[in-house]
Symmetry: C2
Subunit: 210 residues, 2 copies
C-alpha cells in the first residue's frame, strides 16, 4: 500500500475494543513524533504515553467524558506544549546542537541562541500558541505513521485542558495539554465511522493555483 492509500484508509476511530497495539508499532509512531520538524528545531513539547488503565479511566471521567475511545484505547498520547519558552529550554537545545553538530563554529551557535531568545520575551499566551503549532505538526506525523503502520487512531481536541493538566500535574511543570491521540484497535461492531466514506473538500474547493 502506498502512502496516499494508507492516508485514505485511515479514519478517526470512534469506538475501540481495548485490544493492545504491538510495542514495535507504538515505537514507530513515537519515532515519527520525535523526527517531526519544529520551528527553529526547538521541539517545545512532551508527549505522555499512557497505558495505565486507571489513569485512562480517570482522564475520561474527569476531562473527556465525550470520548469513549480513551478508556478503550491501547495507548493514549497526551501532547503537552511548553507554556513559557524559558532560557533553560534554549540552553538545553543549544547543548544538543553542540553535541550533535560538533563541527559547527561556536559563534554560529551563539548567534542562533541569541536569535531564539526573542521567544523568551513574548507573552506566555503567545509562547503557548507557538508551542501548540509545533505540537500539531508532530500530531500530523503521528497520525500519518499510525496510518502507515495500519494502527487505528483518533486525534482528540474535545477535552478540558485545565482538568487534564491538573490530573497529570502539568501546570507546575510549565506544560499545558494541547491535544490527545488515542491509538488502539477498532471495535468492529460499534465503530460506526469505520465504514463511512471520508468527507473531504474537493481539490477545487481546497486549492488555488497561481
Amino acid at each position: 500500500m502506498n502512502f496516499i492509500e494508507s492516508l485514505n484508509k485511515r479514519y478517526a476511530s470512534k469506538q475501540m475494543s481495548g485490544k493492545k497495539v504491538s510495542p514495535d508499532k507504538v515505537e514507530t509512531i513515537l519515532e515519527a513524533i520525535r523526527l517531526a520538524p519544529t520551528s527553529m528545531g526547538l521541539q517545545p513539547f512532551k508527549v505522555i504515553i499512557i497505558e495505565d488503565q486507571e489513569i485512562k479511566d480517570r482522564i475520561f471521567e474527569k476531562s473527556a467524558k465525550g470520548q469513549p475511545q480513551i478508556p478503550k484505547s491501547s495507548h493514549l498520547l497526551v501532547f503537552a506544549g511548553y507554556k513559557r519558552i524559558t532560557p533553560e529550554l534554549l540552553d538545553e537545545y543549544v547543548e544538543n546542537i553542540k553535541i550533535t553538530r560538533p563541527t559547527l563554529p561556536l559563534a554560529k551557535v551563539t548567534a542562533y541562541r541569541q536569535m531564539m531568545s526573542a521567544l523568551t520575551l513574548q507573552t506566555e499566551e503567545d509562547n503557548f500558541i507557538w508551542s501548540s503549532h509545533q505540537v500539531y505538526i508532530a500530531l500530523g506525523f503521528a497520525l500519518a505513521a499510525a496510518a502507515v503502520e495500519n494502527v487505528d487512531s483518533v486525534p482528540i481536541a474535545g477535552f478540558t485542558p485545565p482538568a487534564l493538566d491538573e490530573l497529570l500535574g502539568l501546570e507546575k511543570r510549565n506544560l499545558g495539554s494541547v491535544c490527545l491521540m488515542a491509538i488502539g484497535v477498532r471495535d468492529e461492531a460499534t465503530d460506526y465511522n469505520a465504514t463511512l466514506p471520508k468527507v473531504r473538500k474537493s481539490k477545487a474547493d481546497l486549492f488555488e493555483y497561481i
Copy 2:
C-alpha cells in the same frame, strides 16, 4: 525505504536551485493535505500553490526577506486559515456530508451542524487559533508526503503575515496566512543543512510513560 527512513532523510532545505518538481509528486503532496484530518472535519483553510516566478519574488521581497528558498522553490504553498468560522462554512460542509454520506439520517446531520455552530460564537482570534491548529496538522501531512516522495521541502514560519495577506488579497476573503511550505530541489553546493546531522531530543527527553 520505509516511512521512518524517509522521515530521517528529510530536512529543512535552506537553499534551493530553481529546478522543478514533477507535477505528479506535487499532486501527491496536495492529496496528503486534502486527506489530513481536521477538528470536526471542517478543513478550515485554503492552500494557495504558487509557481508564478514574479509572485514568488514579490512574496520574498515584501514579506519573507530571510527566506531565499522562496524565489528558488519549484512551488510555494501558502496555508491560509479562515479567520472567522461563518455559518456559510458550516453549511458548505453539511452539504458535502449529505452528498458523501447519503444514508446518514438527516436528524443526525442537523444535530452535528448544531454542535458545530458553537464555533461561530467564538471570537475571531479564537477561531483563527483553531483554524491554525488544523493547518499545522495538514502541514505535517504535506511534509511527510514530500519525504516519502523524496522531494526537498521546508516549512516556513519566518514571514510577515499582514504583508503576505495584503499581497495575496487574503484579508477581504476571511483568510489569514498561517505558514508556508516551499518545495523544490536543493542546491547541492550551498544547502548547508543537507549534510548536517539532525538535531532531535532523545526519547528520554521527549517521552514519558505512565
